[in-house]
């Protein structure tokens, strides 16, 4: 359990946040640039001294301004992965990796050098200098270096933001492997929703120095009342799915989620039984009063309208319930009037299989 409460002021900006992150898994601090998420990370790491605040990991207090406690960053054992990697240019990749390991307290267990090198695929890089590495390689080394310092908490400050799309795709699987292997709580700062989908269990939604909402990623993704999330083009419910079948002849993959099934364009890499997350974008979900026939759409799900929330001038967000699973649908106000949509009404949610492009399936 990581407890964070911070108050800090810059000219024209006040950060005033309090949240709790679970003791395992990835908690994403998500929000637009300048919302204060990196400031939070720096304060947790100890690199920034807030005007007032408290930071405690499993009841071990690292900062408490009321009682004058401020543990030095070098003794907090928070591994930090910076956006700009910050590898030591005068040291080889191996010496960079061993930098934190050599300084880790004795008797603290953790992954070994060989394990981390294997996990992050760094064998071929060990003898090289940071300057000669690509951006993606540099971030992998930075991940390994932070992990080898035997931290109690990993802090990641937009670790993929400085990379182009191709490099992001290259590094993302390593982040997921690290998350699974490290068994550490991770605070992950990002403004990219696809990174949240791929990595995060919990979400702290930030705007202008305030916490708008916090909870599991699925729960927040299904809320229609959070403009910071719901008004995005890529807003939509996040479904935890299991691969039910590969229908090779039809070129489809069948996914199951609590209360329903989805047919998506075939992904040969997925094994039956494998778990994955699918973001079902609200703009890709249509509703019909009757189950349509003679239509190309594969995914037709009976559901109930729970809530109708205005979203801009001409549009609304419908919160739909398919069994225990919430969905979001974005339709025009005109459609609401035309179809007489209202909370409690039983409707059908329609989704084209093709809507599940690669980015939507993490």
């Amino acid at each position: 359990m990581l407890d964070v409460a911070l108050l800090h002021q810059y000219p024209g900006f006040t950060l005033d946040v309090a949240f709790t992150a679970p003791g395992t898994g990835v908690t994403a601090l998500f929000g637009p640039s300048g919302c204060g998420k990196s400031t939070i990370l720096a304060a947790v790491a100890g690199l920034l001294r807030p005007a007032a605040g408290r930071v405690a990991l499993h009841d071990d207090v690292m900062l408490d301004t009321t009682s004058g406690i401020a543990v030095a960053p070098e003794r907090r054992r928070c591994g930090v992965v910076f956006q700009d990697s910050r590898l030591f240019p005068h040291l080889s990749v191996e010496a960079n990796l061993r930098y934190g390991l050599r300084r880790a307290p004795h008797g603290v267990s953790g992954p070994t050098f060989a394990e981390v090198v294997g996990l992050l695929g760094l064998e071929a890089l060990l003898g090289r200098r940071p300057l000669g590495l690509s951006g993606g390689e540099r971030q992998r080394v930075a991940l390994g270096r932070a992990l080898l310092a035997r931290p109690r908490l990993l802090l990641m400050d937009e670790p993929l933001a400085a990379l182009d799309a191709a490099r992001r795709v290259e590094v993302l699987p390593f982040l997921a492997r690290l998350r699974d292997a490290a068994g550490l709580p991770v605070l992950y700062v990002t403004h990219a929703l696809e990174e949240v989908d791929a990595l995060a269990d919990h979400l702290v939604l930030l705007e202008a120095g305030q916490v708008l909402a916090a909870g599991t990623v699925e729960a927040l993704a299904a809320r229609a009342d959070l403009p910071a999330l719901a008004r995005r083009r890529d807003a939509g419910a996040l479904l935890g799915c299991t691969v039910l079948a590969q229908e090779a002849t039809r070129g489809l993959t069948r996914l199951g989620f609590p209360g329903g099934e989805l047919l998506v364009p075939r992904r040969p890499g997925l094994a039956v039984g494998e778990q994955l997350r699918v973001r079902l974008r609200a703009r890709d979900v249509a509703v019909a009063l009757e189950a349509p026939r003679g239509i190309s759409m594969h995914n037709i799900m009976a559901c109930r309208i729970e809530e109708i929330v205005p979203a801009g001038e001409a549009e609304v967000l419908l919160r739909l319930q398919v069994g225990p699973t919430p969905l979001l649908s974005r339709v025009t106000r005109d459609s609401v009037g035309r179809l007489g949509l209202a909370p409690g009404l039983e409707v059908f949610a329609l989704v084209k299989s093709i809507a599940f492009d690669h980015a939507a399936v993490a």
Partner: protein
């Protein structure tokens, strides 16, 4: 090519300049560190004092050294009474005078290197468990080494030619304190010494040029080694 006396002046100059760099290097690094990173009252005053030798006439610096390190001076008196050390009119005294004169050159160069250093790297070292001294030795010092090296070589090259402070504090004693510029000066003062002066001036010129080229070359090597290409 050179007479034994002339060789002696060259060797003496090299020894004095070398010793002066050895003496002033560590304090200069510390002062540069304090000036670049420290936030303490009197920082501007310290900055000004460090740079004084660049603007005060060297003769005045030599005179100041005489006042402080002379046999009658507060420090010179103690050194003489306790350890039997005499600095005035000795090679060591010439080295001290040269060190004071070239001190600001090293400080400036080291400080420039420090200010170009990304503080984010030191922050990263902190999060990896490195305390202040550890951080300085493992990250800061290696990364500022090009600045230190450039400062040391420049100070050495400049120290070969220090005149005013040396002649005032250490006098002009052949074999003891008569460095290259002092030997050149003496040659120009004695009848028929033009050829000697010309030869020594040429040597002086060559040494200074070699020093500067060496500084540039080593600096580039070191920068490449540090991955700053």
């Amino acid at each position: 090519m050179l007479s034994p006396e002339e060789w002696q002046a060259v060797r003496l100059s090299l020894g004095v300049a070398g010793r002066s760099v050895l003496v002033s290097l560590l304090p200069a690094v510390l002062v540069a560190w304090a000036l670049a990173r420290g936030r303490f009252p009197g920082r501007m005053l310290l900055d000004a004092i460090v740079h004084l030798p660049l603007v005060v006439p060297p003769v005045v610096v030599g005179w100041g050294l005489l006042m402080v390190f002379g046999i009658q001076g507060p420090i010179g008196g103690l050194l003489h009474a306790w350890f039997g050390i005499r600095l005035v009119f000795t090679t060591e005294g010439a080295a001290l005078a040269t060190a004071v004169m070239s001190f600001p050159l090293i400080v400036r160069s080291v400080r420039l290197g420090l200010e170009g250093l990304d503080p984010g790297l030191e922050a990263a070292a902190r999060t990896l468990g490195a305390g202040p001294a550890d951080r300085f030795l493992s990250v800061t010092l290696p990364l500022m080494s090009p600045g230190i090296l450039a400062g040391a070589v420049t100070a050495f090259a400049a120290g070969l030619g220090e005149f005013g402070a040396v002649i005032t504090f250490a006098s002009n004693i052949p074999g003891e304190t008569q460095t290259l510029p002092l030997a050149i000066y003496s040659a120009t003062q004695s009848p028929g010494g033009e050829a000697v002066a010309a030869r020594l001036a040429l040597v002086s010129f060559a040494l200074a040029l070699a020093g500067l080229l060496l500084a540039e070359l080593l600096g580039r090597r070191l920068s490449r080694w540090l991955g700053r290409g």
